[in-house]
């Protein structure tokens, strides 16, 4: 029973990180109708932004988190202005290849400037575990969970309760009508890309703290999982994406706990294939490109 509860908790923690990445993909797709394949590498930039701040400036957690968010957000802003906006209205394949190219540039740029190898992350927070009775949680795990849940809460608040969030949903469903009611579609898209990037940056910091290291090529592993989540859930409802991400995290943790981590990734892909076979638009429906 203890193993089950422990793996359940571990699953929620990793699933919540997948959820933040998946929501980033979904947020950008809903307004721009493109898959931003640079998103996982923006996540990685956030991780290194935090690492550099913790190494050379301060190890104060809040400052490091802000550095992670700002570095990822800045790259997101540059991507929107230099790539996504000029390519709006063009073939989606062009944007897809362009974002993929930016992602590769970011990976190799960080590898060349900092290191192509795994780099140790400074100890910004203590690694002491917190005993919760049947289960225990380390402080980095707790931070990871809180950062992810906080990020999801911010996205939910933004999308559901702010005027810009409403405009984001309006652009997602009918961009022309939204523009005809005064919505600056470029501005809404820019806010969506920057918000998705900043939250990915925070999530990356918490992953870096959790595993105690950073790697220029880490984006791919998390990006694929986040991408699977939006394919399985569909991109229409953010709540659906979060639910699938948590379910995927829990499934992976249970497989790791009861079988072997060898099967973990295979099962994620099997889940994707099975769902797309039955529901090609995802479990909760999709906006199409």
């Amino acid at each position: 029973m203890n193993l089950f509860l422990q793996q359940l908790l571990n699953g929620v923690i990793i699933g919540s990180t997948y959820a933040v990445i998946a929501i980033g993909f979904a947020l950008v797709f809903t307004v721009l109708r493109v898959i931003n394949f640079a998103h996982p590498d923006i996540f990685m930039v956030g991780m290194f932004g935090g690492l550099l701040c913790a190494t050379y400036v301060t190890s104060n957690f809040l400052v490091v988190a802000i550095a992670s968010a700002l570095s990822a957000g800045f790259v997101g802003l540059a991507l929107e202005r230099a790539v996504l906006r000029p390519l709006r209205g063009r073939d989606t394949l062009m944007t897809l290849i362009a974002t993929l190219g930016v992602g590769i540039m970011l990976e190799n740029g960080v590898a060349a400037l900092i290191s192509p190898d795994v780099v140790a992350f400074p100890a910004v927070i203590s690694r002491q575990p917190i005993d919760l009775g049947a289960v225990s949680i380390s402080r980095p795990q707790m931070v990871n969970l809180l950062v992810s849940l906080g990020s999801l809460a911010i996205v939910s608040y933004y999308v559901r309760l702010t005027a810009y969030g409403r405009a984001t949903r309006a652009v997602a469903e009918r961009p022309d009508v939204a523009a005809a009611f005064g919505v600056n579609v470029d501005r809404v898209s820019q806010v969506a890309v920057v918000l998705a990037s900043m939250l990915a940056g925070c999530a990356a910091l918490s992953v870096g703290l959790l595993y105690g290291n950073a790697w220029a090529f880490i984006g791919l592993a998390y990006g694929i999982k986040g991408f699977i989540c939006i394919l399985v859930a569909g991109n229409r409802y953010f709540e659906g994406v979060i639910l699938v991400a948590l379910a995927l995290g829990i499934l992976e943790a249970l497989i790791t706990g009861y079988l072997s981590s060898t099967y973990r990734d295979a099962i994620a892909f099997l889940l994707l294939i099975a769902v797309l076979y039955v529901r090609p638009n995802g479990l909760f429906g999709s906006y199409t490109a």
Binding site: A163, R166, E173, A178, A179, A180, G182, V183
Partner: protein
């Protein structure tokens, strides 16, 4: 008298297919102008061109607002809305996954938030059914109710000019009569209306002036009452009798 809206010799094509070939129309402040035409005549393209949603190849569109003239071809769609132009699109085009209330709030996206709240209340007085349905998803409403939301949404921001595209499409005859009465009510408040319609009989009854469009060209224009008696209009749109 200077027109509020002036469309001058515009040419629009979708890829290689011409949709408008040298269309010119004028709309004066306070009037209901109707554009009649069959499917594919280019009526919706005129409206989309006014709000900046087509690629105009030639010609110009200007709007006279607050004493100055604005070249709409130089403005983006959201900027045109901010001049006081709103749109009731063909098929309503509500945000179906959003609630009725959120659709109405979006109508006032560019307006002062406090005034939007007040305007939503006014619109709910106009359309009491919307008050009952305010928390319901707009996509789940009946056609008539959706048309009420589309009209209310267009009126939230106190527009000077409302572009209405095929208001009667897909509505029951009783609802159609009600909708046209609403257009008159909107106009009586000083809002100019450009109405694009296939329901010529009803549209000509409420319109000040009318244009008749055929395959992307204006073929007739004049006072609505006069146009209603013209044989060409009667033959095409009024079943051969007025």
């Amino acid at each position: 008298m200077t027109p509020l809206l002036s469309v001058s010799d515009i040419h629009v094509a979708y890829k290689a297919v011409p949709a408008l070939s040298g269309v010119s129309i004028e709309l004066f402040e306070g009037e209901i102008l109707v554009i009649l035409g069959a499917n594919g005549a280019g009526k919706t393209t005129i409206i989309k061109s006014i709000v900046g949603l087509t690629d105009i190849q030639r010609g110009g569109i200007s709007l006279r607002m607050n004493g100055s003239s604005h070249d709409l071809r130089k403005l983006k769609t959201h900027e045109i809305h901010r001049l006081g132009v709103t749109w009731v699109p063909e098929g309503r085009q509500l945000w179906g996954t959003m609630t009725v209330m959120d659709n109405l709030r979006m109508g006032g996206f560019a307006a002062d938030p406090a005034e939007t709240v007040q305007r939503i209340e006014e619109m709910m007085d106009w359309f009491p059914r919307l008050r009952e349905r305010q928390h319901q998803l707009a996509g789940s409403l009946s056609g008539g109710e959706q048309q009420m939301v589309a009209l209310a949404r267009a009126l939230i921001a106190r527009p000077k000019l409302v572009l209405m595209d095929e208001l009667s499409l897909g509505l029951a005859p009783l609802v159609v009569a009600e909708v046209f009465q609403l257009v008159k009510k909107v106009n009586a408040l000083g809002v100019s209306v450009l109405l694009v319609e296939q329901n010529a009989r009803q549209a000509l009854r409420i319109a000040t002036r009318a244009y008749l469009l055929e395959v992307g060209c204006v073929v007739e224009s004049g006072l609505a009452a006069e146009l209603a008696t013209k044989r060409s209009v009667q033959d095409i749109f009024l079943g051969g009798h007025s």
